[in-house]
């Protein structure tokens, strides 16, 4: 088969955010008439890269070519003028307007008089042509999520998009709707469209993609490999990394008493669907239990349930002899139960407050920080100076707002706060995501020291390297169920990859 031409090509894209190198000289291209999957864990830089192509971000370095011609994309309008349209995870639709009205929303033609009847006919015709049937007169709120997605696709086709970027399009769909979407996508590629399919779901990528590019920590780990000749396990390994970047220096664990016992735990996700299905495990003092799994299989919900941010629907959590439930006073429990949250900026810290103020977030209500109703500002400062020194936090002063810190230093602020409270249990979620090698190493060292001082750690990560090198024991989660458990030492990474991809482990 003749190689078809590139519809677009991105060369050497570099995109940096404060403290994070989101795209590190990334090359990516899409051919006319193909579905090209962009695979990677959360935070690997997939959405960033595509936001660059869609004109939302302006990269520091790199160039974009459309049909071989250099272009500068300054806005989504520029992108769509070049035939590139992006469909975001969260739909950009006006709920109380009709499909036709949404289709022309933001277009600067027609200039003045809106002949809605004509638009409706055009939308209808376009829908029939691509098998995307929606009633152009229906209001958006009347439509199902799958139908709303079709409207988004129609919107882009109406604007003349030849390259369609879809950011995790299946995340919101039922299995039947996914089937429908795939039929449409194939139909579109036959008509010469290029689809970029962003996902971290291996099954779907194998089912729909012609070629796959894998991103990991902002870099390409597999460039445009054919989806035919690749297995799910290979893809899983490419996604989470096989090569050990650095070895964590740690002694053999000496597990003590059971600190956390979780029994048949169930909870719902934000959309009210089951996220955890009868999860049971134990964590002992002085060990690191690693929870492996591809994003979106219940890890976030588990961390939230364990730290009081989400309600359970059934099952029990026994923490050090007391049951955790909705009567638990979390502020009182305070630092016995430490939590390094997934989103350090939006959950783990208060950006507009100083380093010193962030370091007392979990102990402002007890001496020596508080004295009766007041806060002892001298103690706040002493606490900050001590922790900044002890944990090597690079900050101009302790009065600096944490919003000014790099990702690595912000994570150190959070770890300093959580560790210095001498917790019995620590739940760490993606503790090194987005950090550079040096900061990652520092965080790993802190976690191992924490283990050696007798804390029970639950480490949740998508990075298999990290899990294998840090954990003493591993459990694998898939679709809210624990599907396997093994000691980390000598664990077969291929077998874990298969479990993460939902294949039941033989034996």
């Amino acid at each position: 088969m003749a190689e078809s031409a590139d519809a677009f090509e991105m060369r050497g894209i570099v995109q940096r955010f404060p403290g994070v190198l989101a795209n590190d000289h990334v090359d990516f291209a899409g051919r006319v008439g193909e579905v090209h999957a962009l695979l990677g864990e959360n935070g690997a830089g997939k959405s960033t890269l595509m936001n660059v192509l869609a004109g939302l971000y302006h990269p520091e370095a790199g160039e974009i070519l459309i049909h071989g011609q250099h272009v500068v994309l300054r806005s989504p309008q520029d992108a769509i003028a070049n035939g590139i349209g992006m469909i975001h995870q969260h739909f950009m639709l006006v709920p109380n307007q009709t499909v036709a009205e949404n289709t022309v929303l933001g277009l600067n033609r027609p200039r003045f008089f809106l002949n809605l009847r004509k638009i409706e006919e055009q939308v209808q015709a376009l829908g029939e042509q691509y098998g995307l049937s929606v009633n152009p007169r229906a209001k958006i709120w009347e439509l199902s999520v799958g139908e709303q997605q079709r409207v988004e696709v129609l919107k882009m086709l109406f604007r003349g998009a030849k390259v369609l970027i879809m950011d995790e399009p299946t995340a919101v769909l039922t299995p039947q709707e996914v089937e429908g979407l795939f039929v449409t996508l194939r139909d579109m590629t036959k008509r010469g469209h290029t689809i970029v399919f962003i996902s971290h779901k291996l099954d779907e990528v194998v089912a729909i993609a012609d070629r796959v590019t894998v991103l990991r920590r902002g870099k390409v780990t597999a460039a445009s490999v054919s989806a035919r000749g690749v297995t799910k396990a290979q893809l899983a390994n490419l996604m989470v990394g096989r090569e050990v970047i650095f070895k964590v220096d740690k002694k053999k664990a000496k597990p003590g008493d059971v600190v956390l016992e979780v029994n048949r735990l169930c909870c719902d996700n934000d959309r009210g669907l089951p996220a955890l299905r009868e999860v049971s495990f134990q964590v002992q003092a002085g060990e690191i239990l690693g929870l492996a799994g591809v994003a979106g299989n219940g890890q976030r919900e588990l961390a939230e349930v364990l730290t009081g941010l989400r309600c359970t629907t059934s099952g029990t959590m026994n923490f050090n002899g007391t049951l955790l439930n909705r009567h638990t006073h979390w502020l009182e429990l305070g630092q016995q139960l430490a939590h390094v949250p997934e989103d350090r900026a939006a959950v783990g810290s208060v950006q507009a407050l100083s380093v010193a103020e962030n370091l007392i977030l979990k102990r402002f209500n007890r001496p020596p920080i508080s004295k009766g109703w007041s806060i002892n500002s001298i103690a706040v400062k002493q606490n900050a100076v001590k922790l900044v020194k002890e944990y090597n936090i690079a900050t101009p002063t302790v009065e600096t707002h944490v919003g000014m810190l790099s990702g690595g230093n912000l994570q150190k602020v959070i770890l300093a706060r959580e560790i210095s409270g001498h917790p019995k249990l620590m739940v760490a979620v993606h503790p090194t995501r987005g950090l550079d090698v040096g900061a990652t190493e520092a965080v790993h060292k802190l976690l191992v020291e924490q283990r050696d001082s007798g804390t029970a750690l639950l480490l949740i990560s998508e990075d298999l390297d990290e899990l294998m090198s840090l954990s003493d024991r591993l459990v694998v989660i898939y679709e809210g169920r624990i599907v396997g458990e093994m000691p980390a030492e000598g664990a077969d990474i291929r077998r874990i990859g298969l479990m993460m991809a939902g294949t039941k482990a033989e034996s």
Partner: protein, 400 residues
């Protein structure tokens, strides 16, 4: 095909990491621009010399240096204010106007700090005025000693305002009902409640639409009451209410920056998710802060009736809304609110004599609008940049 050639285009970018002084500078530039815009409006309203009008407003609000010199001379020599001089008169009037808006401003400061948009300070103030009146005229005997009476009125005003603030707070905390709508609507309930009592209801003195003059024990002492000891105090209506405002500002500063509760408020206001993560009870704090906000507005109401010495059908609406402007211009800093409230008091006094009467409200509106607008503009930069190669249009792209 790409058209060669150079294009210029404007681009708006947001600026991050602005240094702290930018806020103060933008506020000053904003006020200046507001005066320029207001000047054109004054011109349109018929003022031939807007700058002269501003100078006049300033003189009316603060007095001239000559007034102050004459006043100080009279104070130390124990004589009357010389004829033709206003002495401390303008500043005294300004302080009288400033004290209620200082308190309503602080009510907004504490609520806005937690991103609770309490625009019901007006209603909370009306209810505070009503409760203070009930105590002064109908509950305690006329012979109650003045300090006891005033303290009882203040407590009543605070409790009524607090209760009236807790209602929307509770609805917000438990049922997530938008506090902007509830607080705004409750203003009208409060206006009508007071109107019922003093115009047609049980407290009305027939055609007077008033409760009648309060007993002396229920009124603020004024400087003019001491004219025998200090002749220059003749006609000065300044009263201790301003100290309530200053004390409240100091208390709020302590709460916000030195107390556990204030820490919780600042964490919630900046990042409610982090507050939940730390185990802080967000719902409880919504109710408490709305209560404190209402209490401050209620105290403003007590302050006003004790200064006006009666509650009548003309009790001024809108001081709570001026509080919103004061809080915003003070950048939600309680200490800054003291000074902004005094400036606004001067504006209210200085524009009293200007026709048409709406000038004062107009200037207030222009100042808020322009200052907030300026601040926003300071957060963005507009770039004129050269675009060497531009994107081909859709039509051109389709030729490929």
């Amino acid at each position: 095909m790409n058209l060669p050639g150079t294009h210029y285009r404007l681009r708006i970018e947001s600026r991050s990491n602005l240094p702290a002084w930018v806020g103060a500078v933008s506020a000053i530039i904003g006020v200046f621009l507001a005066l320029v815009v207001g000047g054109f409006m004054l011109r349109a309203a018929g003022a031939t010399d807007p700058i002269g009008t501003y100078i006049e407003i300033f003189k009316e609000g603060f007095g001239t240096p000559a007034d102050w010199a004459a006043g100080l001379h009279a104070l130390f020599t124990g004589t009357d204010c010389p004829k033709g001089m206003q002495c401390f008169g303008p500043f005294s009037d300004t302080l009288v106007k400033a004290s209620p808006i200082m308190l309503t401003g602080l009510a907004c400061v504490i609520a806005f700090r937690m991103k609770l948009w309490n625009i019901g300070a007006d209603g909370q103030m009306f209810l505070g005025a009503w409760a203070a009146t009930a105590v002064a005229v109908f509950l305690l005997p006329k012979t109650t000693p003045r300090p006891v009476m005033l303290a009882a009125m203040a407590v009543a005003g605070i409790l009524a305002g607090m209760a009236y603030g807790v209602i929307p707070g509770f609805l917000k905390a438990r049922l997530n009902i938008n506090e902007i709508v509830t607080t705004l609507m409750l203003n009208y309930v409060a206006y009508l409640w007071v109107e019922y009592f003093v115009v047609v209801g049980p407290w009305s003195l027939g055609d007077f639409e008033s409760t009648g003059r309060f007993p002396t024990s229920a009124t603020w002492p004024r400087l003019t009451d001491y004219v025998k000891q200090i002749p220059v105090a003749a006609g000065l209506t300044a009263h201790p209410g301003i100290f309530l405002g200053i004390a409240a500002a100091l208390l709020l500063t302590w709460i916000l920056y030195r107390s556990r509760w204030g820490y919780e408020i600042r964490v919630i206001g900046n990042n409610p998710k982090a507050a939940r993560y730390a185990g802080i009870d967000v719902a409880r704090n919504i109710i408490l802060v709305m209560g404190l906000s209402g209490a401050l507005a209620g105290l403003a109401g007590m302050n006003e009736v004790a200064a006006q010495r009666e509650l009548n059908g003309r009790f001024q609406q809108g001081l709570g809304f001026t509080g919103v402007i004061v809080a915003w211009l003070a950048r939600l800093n309680p200490i800054a609110a003291i000074f902004v409230a005094i400036l606004f008091g001067a504006l209210l006094v200085g524009t009293q004599l200007i026709q048409p009467q709406g000038i004062s409200s107009m200037l207030q509106g222009v100042i808020l609008f322009v200052v907030v607008g300026t601040e926003l503009l300071f957060h963005y930069q507009i770039k004129l940049e050269k675009a060497e190669s531009t994107a081909p249009s859709a039509a051109e792209a389709s030729h490929d």
